[in-house]
């Protein structure tokens, strides 16, 4: 096992994002199953700074035990683990009726086999090496998933409204005209309102490509969307979280 390289995204903006995460899901509790102790220590510390309660298991068997004995909002599971493989931990947890969302970390240099991971019962997949900001954003979104009713037909953030059935978007009662892709972009952002959403997550969920967009393609789409929903209004809703991604939020 090599030590994955992290880069922290602790910026002034992500601080506020974490506060919001705490506000929505007070004391999110996660389990990290990772055998690389250095990486685990870094992750644990960074998650705690983001206001998340972290338990750590360093092998597959103890991870499986902790995962089935306690209730976690999210579990972060490394694929390559001693004593029991990460994928087998997940399928065993699912067999035992544990439904908490699972984020799989691929081993460095391993085949990036997202499909196998998701088939085993994982909910999200992050290949190493990754930025910690990416991991944090994904864990927060996964942890909030339980509390987000998928059946909500209208998303609201401040005076911005998005109707998922009629595909209508209104700001302060005025129609905002969006292209289909812009609509899906806004829909995903609003579904995860108050959460940091990374560029990779946007490419995954709006365009259905699972890799790191190397350039500013996503930024250009977001800034187009921003200009459409904010052009004639004073209050900004769509924020750029430097070093991490974007967040839509009503600052109140």
């Amino acid at each position: 096992m090599q030590t994955p390289s992290f880069s922290s995204a602790k910026t002034e903006d992500s601080d506020s994002a974490n506060v919001s995460a705490e506000a929505i899901v007070p004391h999110m509790k996660i389990l990290v199953i990772e055998d690389d102790l250095e990486a685990a220590a870094y992750m644990t510390k960074a998650f705690r700074e983001a206001g998340i309660i972290v338990d750590h298991a360093s092998d597959g068997e103890s991870g499986l035990f902790m995962g089935s004995e306690n209730s976690y909002d999210v579990m972060v599971i490394d694929r390559m683990l001693p004593r029991r493989d990460g994928l087998s931990v997940i399928s065993e947890l699912r067999k035992r009726g544990v439904n908490s969302p699972v984020l799989i970390l691929s081993a460095l240099g391993q085949v990036d086999d997202r499909v196998t991971g998701l088939r085993a019962g994982g909910d999200d997949y992050l290949p190493k090496p990754y930025a910690f900001s990416e991991l944090l954003a994904r864990v927060e979104v996964l942890g909030r998933r339980k509390g987000t009713p998928e059946q909500d037909m209208v998303y609201r953030v401040g005076d911005l409204e998005l109707d998922r059935l009629s595909h209508e978007v209104k700001r302060a009662g005025k129609d905002v005209l969006l292209q289909p892709r812009e609509f899906r972009l806004l829909e995903y952002l609003m579904k995860n309102a108050g959460q940091v959403v990374t560029r990779t997550m946007l490419l995954e969920n709006v365009w259905d490509y699972h890799f790191d967009p190397q350039t500013n393609v996503i930024d250009v789409h977001v800034s187009r969307l921003r200009s459409k929903i904010e052009k004639d209004f004073d209050k900004p809703l769509l924020k750029t979280i430097r070093g991490a991604g974007y967040m839509i939020k009503d600052e109140g």
Partner: protein, 474 residues
């Protein structure tokens, strides 16, 4: 002393030439032995035949005399002939085998008891040599006349040991000539070949010691050895080129990673020394951005390795290339627009290839990224065209720009890892984009083609990169 000789001999026998020569000698010897045996047998047979013929003539004379003058004439004639010198044997024996007349004192027992030709040569003692030690061999014809008398006419076969001596001599001479021949072959051909192989080994040793520019000696004869040397030299050339490429890549990696790492370090040092909170924050953010770029570079490298290793081949399925191209163009259209570039598409509908949608998508993204980077330098209005068409057993997806293009002699190099057209690396990017595209095309059994968009515009011919896919089998 003896063990040393044995050791030397064993060492010598390890040489191919010596072994081959020994084998040749053995084969020659066997052939020669057969030949000698055959020739001996043949000449013996001829000798016996000639002897028989002489005997038959003699028998005919004697029988004629007997028919004409009875026993008396026969006896007289035999007596006369027996006294003449020569190799002929004349015997008249009594009913009990006692010698009555002739030039023979005794014959091998039993010879006189049969009639007609003796089956085998028999030994006898001539009258003139009673008690002599020389052994005489002869063949003869025996018949009976009146009163139980037996007449034998025969002929000496000559000295058998002398005959064998001649044969043995001939064999020895033949073997000696062959041995000499083998030595000549070994010296002339074997040693020469050995020396050439030794020269090749010596050259290989030098190459193994690290001097990849060394080549094996190639003669002018164009024989097997020269062809072998030629092939090995070609292989060495390829290895040297690959090695050179590898060193280039390592150098580039070192450069590409060292520069941002140095910047990273300097920014961290600045941040550490900085008291003003705002400036320090900015420096730290710069560090994060720098690190992210490094992670991207590593990700891209890993991705290329994975694609090249072919480990993603299992995830192949039918991919709607028309849809992926349209998606990609749609994704990049705002980026192009922001850069003042028109992005035009001409996509054939419903074109499907067998492949990995993610990888194909990423490859197209990379091509578009690249095109946007260079179309900005176009003379006149910058345009990027994306065309997708199928025909002739191929599916061709082209991304054309009207930027400065790539000189024809550099086109093969742009897909190399970390290769940048501008050596200063002033443009942003990892230098890995096209390497990934090429790896993706190889994985899909296709290829990547680079050409000028418009050859006639010498100042800005533009670059057209075409992903050529094989048409999937139904």
């Amino acid at each position: 002393m003896l063990s040393r000789i044995v050791k030397r001999a064993r060492l010598m026998f390890r040489s191919t030439a010596v072994r081959l020569s020994a084998l040749y000698i053995l084969l020659f010897a066997i052939c020669a032995a057969f030949l000698v045996i055959y020739v001996t047998a043949l000449s013996e047979k001829t000798l016996v035949q000639q002897t028989r013929q002489a005997i038959e003539e003699e028998v005919a004379d004697i029988q004629r005399a007997f028919n004409r003058g009875g026993v008396n004439l026969l006896l007289r004639m035999m007596e006369r002939r027996a006294r003449q010198p020569g190799a002929n044997l004349y015997v008249i024996a009594g009913p009990n085998g006692e010698m009555l007349a002739g030039n023979v004192s005794s014959v091998q027992p039993g010879v006189l008891d049969q009639e007609g030709w003796t089956n085998l040569p028999f030994s006898y003692e001539p009258y003139s040599e009673i008690g002599g030690s020389r052994r005489h061999l002869a063949i003869a014809n025996v018949w009976r006349i009146d009163n139980g008398l037996r007449v034998m006419i025969g002929r000496d076969l000559g000295d058998p040991s002398r005959f064998r001596y001649i044969v043995r001599q001939a064999l020895m001479v033949a073997l000696a000539i062959m041995g000499l021949g083998a030595l000549v072959i070994w010296f002339g051909i074997g040693r020469n070949a050995l020396k050439r192989i030794d020269r090749m080994s010596a050259a290989s040793q030098k190459i193994m010691a690290g001097d990849l520019s060394q080549r094996l000696p190639v003669g002018r004869s164009g024989d097997e050895f020269d062809r072998l040397s030629g092939s090995l030299n070609a292989m060495l050339g390829r290895i040297e080129k690959l090695n050179e490429g590898l060193r280039q890549v390592s150098d580039n990696i070192a450069h590409d990673l060292k520069t941002p790492l140095t910047r990273l370090r300097n920014k961290a040092a600045d941040a550490l020394a900085e008291d003003r909170e705002e400036v320090r924050k900015a420096a730290l953010e710069g560090i994060i951005a720098e690190s992210d770029q490094l992670i991207r570079t590593f990700n891209a490298l890993l991705m290329i390795s994975r694609v090249e290793a072919g480990s993603m081949a299992a995830e192949m399925s039918n991919v709607d290339l028309s849809a992926v191209s349209a998606d990609s163009a749609e994704l990049y259209e705002p980026v192009a627009e922001e850069a003042g570039i028109s992005l035009l598409t001409e996509l054939g509908p419903g074109i499907v290839v067998n492949g990995n949608r993610e990888l194909i998508g990423q490859a197209i993204f990379n091509l578009l990224d690249n095109a946007i980077k260079y179309a900005g330098e176009a003379h006149g209005e910058p345009v990027i065209r994306v065309t997708l068409a199928s025909g002739g057993g191929e599916v061709r997806l082209s991304v054309c720009d009207n930027g400065p293009g790539v000189p024809a002699d550099k086109r093969a190099e742009v897909t190399k890892r970390f290769f940048r057209l501008d050596a200063s690396r002033s443009k942003p990017g990892t230098g890995l984009g096209l390497s990934l595209v090429e790896a993706v095309m190889e994985l899909h059994g296709g290829r990547l083609e680079l050409s000028a968009t418009d050859e006639t515009k010498t100042d800005a011919p533009g670059l057209t990169i075409t992903m050529v896919f094989p048409v999937p089998k139904p």
